[in-house]
Symmetry: C2
């Protein structure tokens, strides 16, 4: 076997024990909140049939799907002329029938349609799994990364939207974030605005342009709107809407008067109001919405062609970072697989970005239940023999513990414990064996105490 | 977008909420025991470079590796003659540079070598991730399935072997299994036996044959041994060893006398004895080994070319099923990636088979912390408005809870709760709203009680 210098594909990552503890902390926190709100976990296969995925993400998306080569003699059934044409794109379906999951949404739609007879609707599911994209890797963008999605299908109740806002608030707060903004908008409001200025057919152009307000400012948006076929008269009408400021309540009041002649626009405002009143009912302890960081932002569009009602986006204000979550309501998710008129709404957490935010803000807990709590030193055969029954006792008490597996210098053993972030070490020398009082060393403070094994168990379980 | 009838690739599976709860129960139980013994989790990417995997699993294994097609115009750099040769196997490396993880062992070896400067040895890691094999799918054999591995590298202490036996015992017992056997053998004993009969070069042929004793009986083994180059005189010497019966102690005594002239064979026996004495020390509450279900089985070989010391295999005796776990010590895992002389030992749990065993024996817990604990009914707008603050209160108390998201007939709502295996439903009608005493329905017994929300919280948290 030739020796090869080991590496991994670009855009992919190994996760070390320290990283896994932190990643699990994020996934478990988000997953627990999903469960608290009645969402249930599912998983779908890593590989989907290629035709399940093709055509769902646009032409650019199709190119970024990782295709899996058929097994065995994959060329056997390929006609000679197809091979000699030397066209990769045309050859692909002949030599590849499977592909790696590109997101969690299309597999979820496929799941719902395939299992529709076993599902009790409304179906509240969450899913935390990796996805793969053949994107150009760069800082913060990977070819394998996790998505954390929750969706409910088969319920048009706006209570779902209200609960998603609370889920965002609860999960991010539990992770220690303090200053973040949950932005909300509604496709119907955007439709109403396009209707009012008399250009309903240009709604996509309008929203694509005003979505960039943050980045290019009002002058930039104006320029783009004109390029996209709007007149200066249109923009005059749009200006007060785009530049809407103030509290959610005053924005809603302003929009009500702007949109008074648009039935769909008023419907959008009514939906926002209903969501807000649901939130107030669900939080009886306070009627104050401010701690929710909820902000009506009518420039928010995200995948507009997809969303039909509420649109969400979450940003942290503590670190410069793109959105750390988003979602919205869609009315025809499963239509692509032949199941019509099933409405749904869902959200997603950007776990990799949240990881970077928590790291930058130093918000990860220092000790978790994942880690080894105590290591017993190992100086010689006698000490090892003395220690093993104590190790058995520690584990019997449910304490994650280990012994250094062979005798070695103290420094080496302490370095090992330090690298593994083990908070306590039990030192056993001849004095300890004689007295039955063991030295418990706190690795952070350096303090040492002489205690019996039962006292140590009490300390470690505290 | 054309409507396509959705399906998934053969040999792959969707996991429903009920299945996920059970799978997580198995993974969490095994993972907790790994952690209790000081093992730390890592994860490696789904895709490895193809040349990391090729040549590690034999020619048959290489064929079963799923290869990922290069992105973009993958034919561009393929020479015309290579394409026209029409040879799938030769073309593969030109159009595919990446492949799906085939097991957890080779990626672990690659990880250790790549990160050797960041790792504090001995490195105790566990890994629970899916692997993919282009095998012919059949009952119980999938193309995507999870492996659960724990390994320690950089320690030759037999304490590790002893702890792995305890890990098997503890994890399987916690999962509710009562009658299982942890078989142990040692490559050195097998070497000693081959040495004693004067055929050390035929050790692989010998072990492949006697490994089949369970299936083909002693006559079958005899036939195979003769085909593989052993004489009847050899087999006469082998017979008492192959048919060794009795307690571990008596087997060891017998082997000691058979192997008295083989240094390596005696070393193997000594290792078994050391492991057993470590186990006794680690279990101070009892010196009785019987509850450990430990059995010395010298016909046990598993991937012999690979293992250099201890060999493990676990079988359940309650259900007809192949092995549910296995492992052993290897002396040169990382040599294939250029890091020599790093010894290691590891075990693996067969999670899919354990799932089938627990299901057949009805050992899955009925209620877990994963599920919704209570659902509030929803009859009309008034009841909903009354219910939402109570829902907020339940969740504030840490209780997984949900409200049926719109008003519907009672039967439909109770069916929904039943399908989701929600154990309690709170019914709120006009009487309940007036009195503040809510009806708590136990979905299993059908019993109903009138209680305040605070009383309900107490009941549900019990």
């Amino acid at each position: 076997m030739a020796t090869i210098k080991p590496s991994i594909p670009k855009g992919t990552r190994d996760f070390s024990p320290a990283e896994m503890v932190r990643r699990n902390y994020i996934f478990n926190t988000i997953g627990s909140v999903f469960k608290k709100y009645g969402y249930q976990e599912i998983q779908t296969p890593t590989m989907e049939n290629l035709d399940t995925l093709t055509g769902k993400y646009g032409d650019e998306g199709d190119k970024l799907i990782f295709k899996v080569l058929n097994s065995g003699d994959f060329l056997a059934k390929v006609p000679a002329e197809k091979l000699s044409a030397n066209n990769s794109q045309q050859l692909t379906p002949s030599i590849s029938e499977k592909a790696l999951r590109y997101d969690l949404t299309v597999p979820f739609a496929r799941y719902v349609v395939m299992h529709q007879n076993d599902i009790s609707f409304p179906f509240k599911r969450f899913q935390i799994q990796p996805v793969w994209r053949a994107d150009r890797p760069q800082k913060g963008r990977y070819r394998e990364f996790y998505q954390c999605d929750a969706d409910v299908v088969g319920s048009d109740s706006l209570l779902n939207e209200a609960e998603f806002i609370l889920i965002y608030h609860e999960a991010l707060s539990e992770l220690g974030l303090k200053d973040f903004t949950i932005k909300i908008n509604n496709r119907k409001i955007l439709s109403g605005i396009a209707e009012i200025i008399g250009k309903p057919q240009l709604i996509v152009d309008m929203t694509v342009a005003i979505d960039k307000l943050d980045k290019i400012g009002f002058d930039g948006v104006t320029k783009e709107l004109i390029e996209r076929g709007f007149t200066t008269a249109d923009i005059e009408k749009l200006e007060p809407v785009i530049l809407l400021q103030g509290t959610n309540e005053s924005k809603i009041e302003n929009l009500k008067s702007v949109l008074q002649d648009s039935a769909v626009g008023l419907k959008g405002i009514e939906e926002i109001n209903t969501i807000i009143s649901y939130i107030a009912l669900l939080r009886p302890q306070t009627s104050d919405l401010r701690p929710l960081h909820l902000e009506l932002d009518i420039t928010l569009a995200r995948g507009l062609n997809y969303y039909t009602g509420a649109i969400f986006e979450v940003k942290t204000n503590e670190v410069a970072m793109g959105s750390i979550g988003g979602g919205g309501r869609y009315d025809d998710l499963t239509g692509m697989f032949g199941l019509k008129d099933l409405t749904g709404v869902g959200i997603s957490f950007g776990a990799d970005r949240i990881y970077d935010v928590l790291e930058e803000l130093d918000l990860f807990p220092e000790v978790t239940s994942e880690s080894t709590r105590v290591m017993i030193s190992n100086f010689d055969h006698n000490a090892e023999t003395y220690a093993l029954p104590l190790l058995g006792k520690l584990r019997e008490s449910g304490i994650n513990s280990e012994i250094y597996p062979s005798s070695a210098k103290l420094k080496k053993q302490l370095n090992y414990a330090d690298d593994k972030k083990i908070p306590f070490v039990i030192l056993i020398g001849s004095e300890e064996m004689e007295s039955g009082k063991l030295s418990l060393k706190n690795m952070k403070s350096g303090d040492q105490q002489k205690l019996t094994i039962d006292q140590i168990i009490t300390v470690l379980k505290a």
